[in-house]
């Protein structure tokens, strides 16, 4: 069994390996905030490189950046605004899914709010495209639903 030695002699940092084979270091206290990672550490030990099959090198650094701030108690509204400012919709989605996979609650809640904000008052079709979801209602079901919820469509620009 190959063991990757962590770079420091104390067990303060954990090595994480992404699905595309890159390795990142994270402090143990930050790793604790991601329940999936912590469970893996509990099972495999903290000297092992923890494999994260569903998280990739594009997004993991951003997640690590968030939790680095979290453990120093420095997460502010300004930081969070800055954190998502330059992210496009796809990037936010990827981070959101990763946070879900990692069971990183604080980030997950924050991104849920951010996505909700991005979808505010958007049309049903827009939301379908955003999530890459197919409309699986029959035309009858859909028109019945629309009728029942007519009040909720007032003032919404439906872009179909």
């Amino acid at each position: 069994m190959a063991q990757e030695a962590s770079s420091s002699t104390s067990s303060k940092t954990i090595s994480l390996k992404t699905g595309d084979g890159e390795i990142f270091e994270i402090e143990a206290s930050a790793a604790k905030q991601m329940k999936t990672v912590q469970r893996l550490i509990d099972d495999l030990g903290d000297d092992i490189t923890i494999p994260l099959h569903n998280v990739f090198s594009k997004e993991l650094p951003k997640i690590i950046e968030y939790y680095k701030k979290d453990i120093t108690g420095e997460i502010t509204k300004d930081f969070e605004a800055e954190f998502v400012k330059d992210l496009n919709d796809d990037e936010v989605k990827v981070l959101f899914l990763a946070a879900n996979y990692l069971d990183a609650n604080k980030l997950f809640e924050f991104l849920s709010q951010n996505i909700a904000d991005r979808l505010e008052s958007k049309s049903v079709e827009y939301v379908r495209k955003y999530f890459g979801v197919e409309n699986d209602f029959t035309p009858e079901e859909e028109s019945k639903l629309r009728e029942e919820r007519a009040w909720s469509f007032r003032g919404i620009k439906e872009d179909e």
Partner: protein, 314 residues
């Protein structure tokens, strides 16, 4: 330990998105968005029904509020899903505090609304049947309403604690009443003084305004706000000039001083507004009085004082 390398794939497709994730995003939107987005797909529709979403829209203290109502109602509400409970509370008020108040949620964003029953208010001379009578009417939510027979000294006060209100909300305060079967009199020309203040605050009232509790006058004023034709002596119109109007100096803004009709058949007079920040425990005192003119007034039936959020567009 064998590390299994997955094929480099595009980020997990969203239709693999667990329903729990959708629920979480929905819980950060609004009841209206949730209702609308239930049309996105069947998974969204399912997520839109979930208790975890609607639990977030219900006020955090809803359990303790509901437990203050009649046991039978409490039990019937208890078995509902959170969504049905929310919808129920937006559609119909429940009586709490021994029938002294009613509670409801505002349909748009679930904020708390209350009506203080006439019985819970401080009404000067309220216990003297010559001046005020207590009666039951079928279209009131409370078991009793107060009928003003006749008084000189008209003074009504009510209180509500800010901890009961939703945070970060602008509330409007309304006197809910109607004309009794005998004619309303004494309120047409003499305004009442309405005020909202923090009890014990020692500071200035939050709001103070003059209001006329005369619906007839308000109705007449409303119908007068039409473009006026010139009716001077050089008028070329053949019809006689319109009859002289009582309130020639009043304008649309003054409509604020008169009662409006409610959808439940009662009238309401806006007494003022109060912005509740939240997180504190202050008594808001609401009062409406006419004690300076000395004239006799009567012919009103008072249901209570309603406190509800003002729509954001106002």
């Amino acid at each position: 330990m064998v590390v299994i390398m997955q094929e480099q794939q595009e980020a997990v497709e969203f239709h693999d998105l667990p329903e729990g994730c959708i629920e979480n995003v929905l819980s950060f939107t609004t009841p209206r968005d949730v209702a609308r987005l239930s049309l996105v797909s069947s998974t969204f529709r399912s997520a839109a029904q979930s208790d975890s979403v609607w639990d977030k829209f219900l006020p955090s203290d809803y359990r303790s509020i509901i437990s203050q109502c009649d046991e039978e109602i409490d039990n019937s509400l208890y078995v509902l899903s959170k969504k049905d409970l929310y919808v129920n509370l937006t559609q119909k008020p429940i009586l709490i505090d021994d029938g002294k108040k009613s509670f409801q949620l505002d349909k748009v964003d679930g904020k708390k609304c209350y009506m203080l029953s006439a019985r819970s208010l401080f009404i000067v001379w309220g216990d003297t049947p010559r001046y005020w009578k207590w009666i039951s009417v079928p279209d009131s939510r409370f078991s009793q309403v107060a009928e003003l027979v006749s008084v000189c000294w008209f003074e009504i006060r009510g209180w509500i604690n800010t901890s009961m209100l939703s945070p970060n909300t602008l509330y409007g305060v309304y006197l809910v009443f109607k004309a009794s079967t005998s004619r309303t009199y004494g309120f047409e020309y003499q305004p009442c003084e309405a005020s909202i203040l923090i009890a014990g605050g020692g500071g200035d009232p939050v709001v103070e305004r003059n209001v006329f509790l005369d619906a007839e006058r308000g109705r007449r004023l409303r119908y007068q706000i039409v473009p006026r034709r010139r009716t001077g002596i050089f008028s070329r119109y053949l019809e006689p000039p319109p009859p002289p109007q009582v309130e020639q100096t009043e304008s649309v803004d003054d409509l604020q001083k008169y009662p409006k009709e409610r959808t439940d058949g009662w009238l309401e007079m806006e007494l003022g507004e109060y912005f509740n920040e939240g997180g504190d425990d202050k008594e808001v005192e609401i009062s409406v009085c006419e004690v300076k003119g000395g004239g006799w007034k009567g012919g009103l039936v008072l249901q209570g004082i309603e406190i509800r959020p003002k729509p954001k567009s106002c």
